[in-house]
């Protein structure tokens, strides 16, 4: 679905953002794109959407080169940007003017998503808070039924109940034909939502694994004393004790602590990466 080959990109010469980045994302998955501030998460999404052009390398989505922004590509891709724009019109007028460009737009599903988010349909977009507007654009993006749905920090600006509503609507929208990529630095918001993890750091993709594979090979748990566990691959201390990662000896998938995994993958020793 999404293929990025040997991507090189910089905003300023001598300060590369991507150097030979390769990535392959398939339909039927919800990918979580994680990375530190400034690692290039948003820039990578912009490349996928054709809003930034590679200095060298190729980025294709559904066989279309993103940078050409052809209508056949655009009507099967929807981006929910971190900073988004909605015109000063009612929701109905917004739908009437934008939906004709998306051949698979589902009006009924759009209403269901709005209902789930508790956004009144008759309200003007100008009268809405940032969080409500975000819910409208997320609902619209999901209702377009594009094969590729990209979201950049979609949970920013959403209150706590809305974050669980968000997880619910995304889970309902997933199907075998759709590839959803969600970028965030708030990894806990993606708990139980994504099925694949992509971590970007140091100009490259440094980790890309299915959640299932990760939980089969690694065990995430909390202990009072570090001595209680053997072969600790990574540990983080807190007031309540220690969160640790060990090898999953039994191979039975357990729970995933995404924040702990993220910090472990970024550790210079690279011990986690060696296991995959």
């Amino acid at each position: 679905m999404i293929t990025i080959q040997n991507l090189h990109f910089h905003y300023k010469k001598g300060r590369p953002l991507f150097e030979g980045l390769n990535l392959e994302l398939e339909a039927g998955h919800v990918y979580g794109l994680l990375g530190k501030n400034g690692a290039g998460k948003s820039s990578l999404l912009m490349h996928i959407a054709g809003l930034l052009f590679p200095k060298s390398g190729v980025c294709t989505v559904m066989g279309y080169e993103s940078r050409l922004r052809q209508p056949a590509f655009l009507n099967n891709l929807f981006l929910v940007p971190e900073e988004f724009y909605l015109p000063q019109v009612t929701i109905n007028r917004y739908v009437n003017t934008y939906a004709p460009f998306y051949p698979n737009f589902d009006e009924k599903a759009f209403q269901q998503y709005l209902d789930e988010f508790k956004v009144p349909r008759d309200q003007k977009l100008t009268e809405m808070s940032y969080g409500q507007k975000k819910k409208v654009i997320i609902s619209f993006g999901l209702a377009t039924n594009t094969k590729c749905l990209i979201m950049d920090e979609p949970t920013n600006g959403l209150d706590i109940p809305s974050k669980s509503q968000f997880r619910k609507v995304i889970a309902a929208a997933v199907n075998e034909e759709k590839c959803i990529v969600i970028s965030t630095h708030q990894v806990r918001d993606l708990d139980n939502l994504i099925d694949s993890i992509v971590i970007i750091d140091n100009h490259k993709i440094i980790f890309r694994q299915d959640v299932e594979t990760v939980t089969e090979r690694l065990s995430f748990r909390s202990v009072k004393q570090l001595g209680e566990a053997e072969n600790v691959l990574f540990a983080e201390s807190s007031v309540l004790g220690h969160s640790i990662i060990t090898e999953n000896a039994g191979g039975t998938p357990g729970r995933l602590d995404m924040e702990l995994l993220f910090n472990a993958v970024l550790e210079p020793s690279g011990r986690i990466n060696q296991l995959f």
Binding site: R69, P71, E83, T97, Y98, P100
Partner: protein
């Protein structure tokens, strides 16, 4: 069915409609302001004129100034959304081709503007003439209308300027008019300097002044044949060359600048 990625009439229609719906309020307000300004300017001019009859030719300077002023300001806002990240994303990712988006902008800033401008000018003239005949029993008379060639020349200049501003708007979405005028000034200055440098090399010691050259038109040289008198001769470029350049200026340059603006839009990043 294979999607046409360059032009598809229903998609173009949907995009054109979306553009009008999104900007309708702004366009209507601009129209009201334009009519208001035209009526006000016309009335000020008329009431400071004591004649019993007002000639239609009296309106022409207003017509020309506002045609250029309003038209070029309007064109300058063509790609303003690209100066804002979130609006730019919305614009570039809307599933219509670059050609359809560009064609919409081109049609609205040329055909659309000229149509609305003439309706506004006609309305303003009608209102002004009505107010005038009510207050002073003064009437417009139809004489001294400009020649067809003068109007043609006016429109050639207008299309040329429109194309320059449209290209500038694609390059500089923010403050496009100021930046474009500055760029035009720099380009004219560079052409003038390069031309002067070449002419000084070619006519070394014969130019009346180092800058006595008019790019594409000719050069002023000192005539030394009569020792007791000082003459200067303006050597013109061949007539065929000037005609060719004039033809290019009128008919080739504006479409070329539109094409450049289209390709600039295609290459636009956020």
């Amino acid at each position: 069915m294979q999607t046409n990625n360059v032009f598809h009439a229903p998609r173009f229609g949907a995009y054109f409609k979306k553009h009008i719906v999104d900007n309708l309020r702004l366009y209507l307000m601009s129209l009201v302001v334009l009519v208001g300004v035209l009526v006000a300017l016309g009335l000020i001019g008329i009431f400071t004129n004591d004649g019993e009859n007002i000639k239609v030719s009296f309106l022409l300077p207003f017509y020309a100034i506002l045609l250029f002023g309003a038209g070029l300001i309007f064109t300058g806002f063509s790609f303003i959304q690209l100066g804002d990240k979130s609006k730019g994303i919305d614009y570039l990712l809307l599933p219509a081709s670059h050609f359809e988006k560009f064609l919409t902008t081109l049609l609205i800033t040329t055909v659309g503007f000229l149509l609305v401008y003439h309706i506004a000018f006609g309305t303003a003239t009608f209102i002004g003439a009505g107010l005038l005949s009510l207050s002073r029993d003064v009437h417009f008379i139809d004489n001294n209308l400009p020649e067809g060639d003068e109007i043609k020349l006016l429109y050639h200049w207008w299309f040329m300027c429109q194309a320059i501003i449209l290209l500038g708007s694609a390059y500089f979405p923010k403050y496009s008019i100021i930046k474009t005028l500055f760029a035009v000034f720099i380009i004219i200055l560079l052409i003038g300097l390069v031309n002067a440098a070449f002419m000084n090399i070619l006519f070394y010691g014969h130019l009346t002044h180092w800058a006595a050259t008019a790019p594409f038109f000719g050069v002023a040289i000192a005539d030394h044949t009569k020792a007791d008198e000082y003459h200067s001769i303006f050597l013109e470029s061949p007539l065929w060359m000037r005609h060719t350049l004039y033809f290019i200026w009128r008919f080739v340059l504006p479409p070329s600048l539109w094409i450049l603006a289209y390709f600039r839009l295609k290459d636009k990043e956020i």
